[in-house]
Symmetry: C2
Subunit: 341 residues, 2 copies
């Protein structure tokens, strides 16, 4: 037996890596140290207060099956950008600001065009959240991935001054829940949404009933990045906690950040659910409980703040371009989230 190839075209893989590096470098601030070899990315931590420890924050996420819809609709770049927004919002929950992003892109056989779209989307979003696209890995694994699809995961690094760290210690009964509007499904609920669309008979380019756009427009709307509105509120100490509404929905993610002895009341009629959710729930005949634990239902981030500060915080968030609803409050009681009308 004579060996001919290892399943990977090395010249093609190298060309893909060179293209990625070029796009990534365009996101590098002066703090990124260019190093020969690039086995790891190295960058400066932003200067903190003199003598005060700087904390490093990090989170890992995948885009999930939103990528399938994005591939079918030719909008992979946007779906990749969503992964960056997702990670940056996760950091924000603990008061941290983005610093760098590293990606993992895998396919059965690397499609240079698709990979380039992914990296362009990541790089664009990195510039927006002010992170360097510091490194990444591409993997071609025909024995692991189904043909024609792609998986993208990524790690977002950030830093936080200990004085800004949101650790839930200030959260107490009486605090108000401010819900910030989402721009669509963000990055969760796609397994269910895709199934509903497939069974509805609608194609991605068909108009979505109740909206002005197509099914693709509604389902692939970008994951909103809340940093510009929320970072000043974090810096001014206005927030007791944040919950990024991802897998698990409003209740699941609120429950994650509540201290013992505090429970949340969510008033389900306090905001109007966007048309895309109303259509999904109706077309899929989705039970209310499942809809609540699967979709964000129009609320992408929840800010917890003192009742006497809620009006000012809401006004500042609105001035920064957010849609804000007072969606409930905290009360004393066994941990958990109760929905009320």
């Amino acid at each position: 037996m004579r060996y001919r190839d290892a399943g990977v075209d090395k010249a093609r893989a190298e060309a893909i890596k060179r293209d990625i590096l070029e796009v990534a470098r365009a996101t590098w601030s002066a703090g990124v140290r260019p190093l020969p070899g690039g086995f790891a990315g190295v960058m400066e931590l932003p200067a903190g207060r003199p003598g005060v420890l700087r904390l490093v924050a990090a989170t890992m996420d995948g885009v999930g099956t939103k990528l399938h819809l994005a591939l079918a609709a030719g909008r992979v770049e946007q779906a990749a950008a969503d992964l960056v927004y997702h990670g940056a919002n996760d950091l924000l929950v603990h008061g941290a600001r983005p610093l760098a992003f590293l990606d993992y892109v895998a396919q059965s056989r690397l499609d240079a065009g698709v990979v380039a779209s992914v990296v362009r989307g990541l790089a664009r979003a990195c510039r927006e959240v002010r992170a360097a696209l510091l490194g990444g890995e591409t993997a071609e694994m025909p024995d692991t991935y189904l043909p024609g699809v792609i998986d993208v995961a990524g790690c977002m690094l950030g830093s936080v001054d200990p004085a800004m760290l949101l650790d839930g210690s200030a959260t107490r009964p009486g605090d108000v829940l401010l819900g910030l509007g989402s721009s669509g499904l963000h990055t969760n609920g796609y397994a269910l949404a895709r199934r509903i669309v497939a069974r509805s008979g609608l194609s991605l380019s068909d108009p979505l009933p109740g909206t002005r756009g197509s099914v693709a427009d509604a389902l692939l709307a970008p994951h909103r990045w809340y940093g510009p509105a929320l970072e000043p509120q974090v810096a001014h100490g206005e927030l007791h906690a944040l919950a990024h509404v991802t897998g698990g929905g409003i209740g699941g993610n609120l429950a994650r950040v509540l201290p013992p002895g505090v429970r949340a009341v969510v008033r389900g009629r306090a905001w109007e659910r966007p048309a895309v959710f109303r259509w999904l729930i109706e077309a899929g005949d989705v039970p209310e409980e499942d809809a609540r634990s699967t979709f964000n239902l129009g609320i992408g981030m929840i800010a917890v703040c003192a009742p006497e500060r809620a009006a000012d915080v809401a006004a500042a968030l609105r001035a920064a371009g957010e849609t804000v609803h007072t969606i409930g409050e905290l009360e004393a009681g066994a941990a958990g989230v109760a929905w009320r009308d």
Copy 2:
């Protein structure tokens, strides 16, 4: 149509996440801040010199198809640990020390036993390289992954004092190449190795000709972690550069860290190739050039140091448990790597 499930059993997924968190927490040092919600992991940077900027280093890697062999041999835990060693060695190349690791584990359908093995392996290796298993994501994607397999990727974070940063600036003609022995294939060349094994008719439990162990023993030997031996040499400023021999082999990875106007001469007879590589090359009839660019051939890390320091450095590395071969030197010339007998 009534919606019944979203393809993912949420209770099962939650149970898997709880188990992961418990294992991960066992790796947390006092510097990790426990936060409700855990949207991101947050930890202290180790104290640097007073007034000196601390640099953050990060790298992303996948295990690749070594996982397939590991699954077949029931040794997934070890293959997952290899991903941690791989990332830690990548940091070492630039003088950085591990701080935290975040993983991404994806399957068509999450197998709780396999995921638990992966996380145990990651956690064990994290303790060994002194990194906190700070976060991670599990994904269940039946439309993306082939059934029965798993993909694991991970991001290793570290920090480095700017004075220790290996940036290649000290590398010059005349420098000596010290090759540190590998323990096997480490994490590269598995697409080819698996093909050769499949065509050889040998099973994983058969003895590997020329060795005392089985095919599985030889192919799944752990990826060696060179930190204990090399970190003191980095700290003492003894090294001009390091090259971690991963995809691309000895030549490909040496070339990555050479400055312009410097080329490497690798003396292919300076060390004996381990039996596993001799067998793979013979059984697969692998051309010499391909073997060199695919396998590490017994050299897992290359240290570049001044000729007058080479004997002392080699002695110190041997005292720390490494096998060390003088495998070549640098000379003036167009960048590249030349193999000589």
